[in-house]
Assembly symmetry: D2
Homo-oligomer: 360 residues x 4
């Protein structure tokens, strides 16, 4: 059973390869009557697209999308919404020399073994270009969430060891796009940018973390016992290329603490029952509790580097590889809208799922 | 859409509450002809069961299970396998005082809000007692994996700040059950045990980490692009009560490294193509590459503590709560078989899913 | 991928064999707060149970069920509802002689070939005893539908060539259970009963049809393009043992008619827009239109007969078989609550599915 | 939960509207390494396309498809295969007068009520043009089945009362496409053709039946208890526009027979165990038994007719409607490849599902 569908009620199926005809998505389950704001979709695509700044790959795609179905007079009709983007700046010839070679940490070897055949042009389906379809689907999900006053913001919280340490509630999310790194702390952002440029010059790559903040989620989203809200968020994030770790709320640091330190005490407020602290990250027992949801995601360094590396070909013969093609030295700045999109897909799905919790 | 089913082809549906009639599972999709070794199932239940040592809750359940269907003359028949355990040592009266009160960090508040009704007896469905069903289902999955020479071992790698640091390949997994903490390093294990006892005496609780190691997984498991093997492992682990974080391979630490440091170079060996290092944790492009799969999971401190805590009741009135009932000061020793079970369910599911990757 | 789960949002998973421990169901997705009326469940079981009259098998089961989970203080909690019935009047020794023999038209041969192993005791999982679980799940679905003023009635409309011809709207559904055949026309019912008894005396069996009538379904249930409401009803009915055909509305007879004869013209009424006729059977474009839904189902004659039949054993050797065990000469009287149950499961599922058709 | 996906392991998701941009499909789960023969896909499209003969609608579409993903060097890669066809001969202006009117027996009313919005251009998503996507997906399924020596042929077996009566095994399937009706009996076919032309001249429409024959299916396909092979076939067929009934094997006529007449006795042959007759239609206990699978499907008369009909508009006001647009007087000749396609999707799905029935 293949795995190109995500979500249960708000559900996307994606298709397409890096250097094939294009990348597309089918969104099934979007309620009818939603205004499809194409400018928002385009904005999110622009934040993800290659060639947007000095610290990203130079591949140039204008990401012009076409809505193929499901929208009539600018509104969703309840029919599946399909959106497609044709690839333009493809250079399959850049990859011909990789036809029989396995690049370190890429999916070349595992795809070849699993399927017995491999579209070697720019990693084919395994390319991060696939995430365009996630942004297309996630943007429509975000439009649905906006209708319900739910907002999602992701930002770069670390690059290598350069880390932005700040309480989640005090981060000014409006500053995220004021710099090319997408870190809302201008001073840290500048350090990150300089560091990424130095990495690029060294022909190397570097990892980093993204933090995501979701506000306005109603109490009650998440389905015990397996489809806990943070379990589905974890799966969504871990399915993004290059992600190696996920933590919700105080995450790994909670393991160092005592219950008496970690527990979020309930209090009464004029907005009803709240928690005094939010170490839980807005989810308790797998269900949203009305507080801010936040989580952090680890991205490994990009596998393709310009330095020479040792590897093998299909027959196991040693080969030396130097990076060709066009690649990012650090993936996190462009991954911000992807994280937001995957988060939106999870929240939209659970928003619809929660509608049948009680009899009415 | 409720969430009590896990897996696609090897699939479990679980049911039952902490202080209700009992806990059960239906396993659908187990291939016919598998010998169902009941002693293995019982062994895994014993490792999870309460009252097993000085550092666990004193609730006493002998966990006697009954196979209700799907097994004939000790073999699976292809029909759904249902297994049920009746609860014995229930004390619902311990929970009557919690009927209208929300315990900090418990699911009381979110369940009440989501469903409008709550089985308050020992947290009902939200209790970690629910994980008995995971062990029942996961044990059958492990029997299937054993048939394919795949082994799964989890162990406690940290309790609070006490951490076992060791290269995954050099850990002696046969030592895991030689102590009550289930840490394969005897010296560290003793420190952990003493620490947990001191926490217990203080009426408090403490978090910790579990590491899981899977060997013998064939190349090719995992389904791009959403059902990557580590994405499904992440979801499985994050769905376990009290889990707050997940990382595969070198996880969060990979964000600190350069591509030239992190990449696992391919080499030829007498076992075919291998990687020289295994920072990827046995999965590349979401697909198993034949190397050891390993990941680490963060468990927060148990929410119920014996110290008095502030909270509110249904009407928002402040109440002071002191823990009653019987609880663990640290959940990780008993969570080891749960982690193994969830891992087994994911691997078994993907083993079956991979059977149709290529035409034959 | 095994097939023991039915439904998407209101979903049952069933388990159990004819002469094993018992038969059970897990219902996941029932909204919380529904009053679980056990007397209704028992009533439906009684209508299905063996030994209820002179025209049914003499196997005696009191069908005493136990709710294992998901109900608290008589109400559904949102957790999975599991219900189990232990088999009592099992006679596995009646089937020992069939261990290596394939009975004509039974699933013996296909199960053996598919799974390589077969629980030969009373057909195991392939027995119509499996339908007990459908009635358990379907009865809970009917309770949910009652809450929404939706009613479902099935009745026997033919046995062999004896047919009750009547306009659907004029059938007095309150008469269904006034005779043991469950045909609401007393005169036809008596003919059917006599005929079934004569068939029984001849050691033979006979087929028949059931008609099902659903009233009160709101406009809008059914999901284009594959999950049309009548497509899901067809699947539900065809999955019942011995069913060979399904037709909605005027079904096969519609193929004989012209569009100008068949079309249901829209009219205005004090209840809003209605159709003047109802050849469509209450569904248009796969979506309920507010009219009465009705369909007819064909049941073949029961495979087991008391007359001697020729067959083969596992090794292909010819054998002569005379029926043993206890069997019905005609399945339709007992199938009435099964049809109602499967219909209820489909309508309940689509009732929940329809909740997200439009933005609110 | 929307319903635009069909199948579990071999799975299609379709999108598109009659007078929108076009119609497309995403096929997920097709094993890698399958040669994608585009000429076969085109051939099946041609058999379905409008304007192919005097007895079909005059809309003209050349049905030029584009493979957007999943195929590399003419072979499937394991990635999702997306195929798209742009609509060309659209005449949305033909439908402007229907914007606020409900045509009898069409989905206008139910779509409007369900979604609150309706793409009225040529019925939008409810148009039979949607079936183009089924043929695209089903053709790829047929290529997979061909690889396994499984053949599927459908033919017109009745138009109105004109019926081809013949034993399934003696039908010469090679004659199906020798006439425009697609009935393999030349004499009956001519009667049907003349009859359809007379119906067309009368501005009316007529119903009919299609019979489908599947050969070469291995023993073992079908998943008890809900996903019986004929239950999934029934759902597939009933989901096709205008289908009102389904019967497998001797179907409704089996209800008239005794068990001693209906039962298919097992015999030994040089091909192993077979049945002497095939009233079961190749499926027993929901599982294929190696005999020919055959079933019959009822299509109602096309809803749109050229005669004037009474109806109402959105506000319930009476209106008189005369058919505009371009429509078929009888749908069955063009439905033949659609039936084959849906059958192929079911068999392909179950072929993959059956791979895990036993341990290996």
């Amino acid at each position: 059973m293949a795995g190109n569908t995500f979500g249960k009620l708000f559900r996307i199926t994606t298709f397409g390869e890096s250097h094939g005809v294009g990348i597309g998505v089918v969104i099934d389950g979007c309620p009818a009557g939603l205004t499809i704001d194409e400018s928002f979709i385009q904005k999110q695509l622009s934040r993800r697209k290659p060639g947007q700044s000095a610290i990203t790959t130079s591949r140039s795609e204008d990401e012009q999308f076409e809505i193929l179905s499901g929208v009539f007079e600018r509104k969703s009709t309840g029919a599946p919404i399909s959106i497609f983007i044709r690839n333009k700046d493809t250079k399959p010839e850049d990859y011909l020399h990789l036809k029989d070679v396995y690049r370190p940490n890429h999916a070349d070897f595992t795809y070849e073994e699993k399927y017995g055949i491999r579209d070697y042009r720019g990693s084919g389906r395994a390319s991060a270009r696939e995430t365009v379809a996630r942004v297309l689907g996630g943007s429509v999900a975000q439009l649905l969430l906006s209708h319900h006053q739910i907002t999602i913001h992701a930002f770069v919280s670390s690059v290598g060891k350069i880390t932005m340490e700040q309480n989640i509630e005090s981060v000014d999310l409006s500053l995220i796009d004021t710099n090319i790194v997408r870190c809302p702390d201008a001073i840290i952002a500048k350090q990150m940018e300089d560091y990424i440029l130095s990495i690029k010059e060294a022909g190397d790559s570097i990892g980093g973390c993204i933090t995501c903040v979701i506000k306005g989620v109603p109490i009650g989203l998440g389905e015990p016992v397996f489809d806990k809200l943070h379990a589905d968020l974890a799966k969504a994030m871990m399915s993004i290329n290059a992600v190696k770790g996920f933590e919700i709320g105080d995450g790994f640091s909670s393991t160092l603490r005592r219950g008496s330190e970690h527990n979020d005490l309930f209090i009464s407020s004029d907005k009803g029952i709240k928690t005094a602290t939010n170490n839980s990250g807005g989810i308790q027992g797998g269900i949203s509790n009305g507080e801010t949801i936040y989580f952090r995601i680890a991205f490994k360094p990009v596998s393709t580097i310009m330095q020479e590396q040792q590897s093998v070909d299909k027959n196991g013969n040693a080969v030396a590889l130097a990076g060709k093609g066009r690649h990012d030295p650090c993936v996190v700045p462009r991954a911000v809208p992807i994280v937001e999109s995957m988060a939106a897909l999870v929240i939209a799905d659970h928003l619809l799922r929660n509608n049948n919790s009680k009899i009415n």
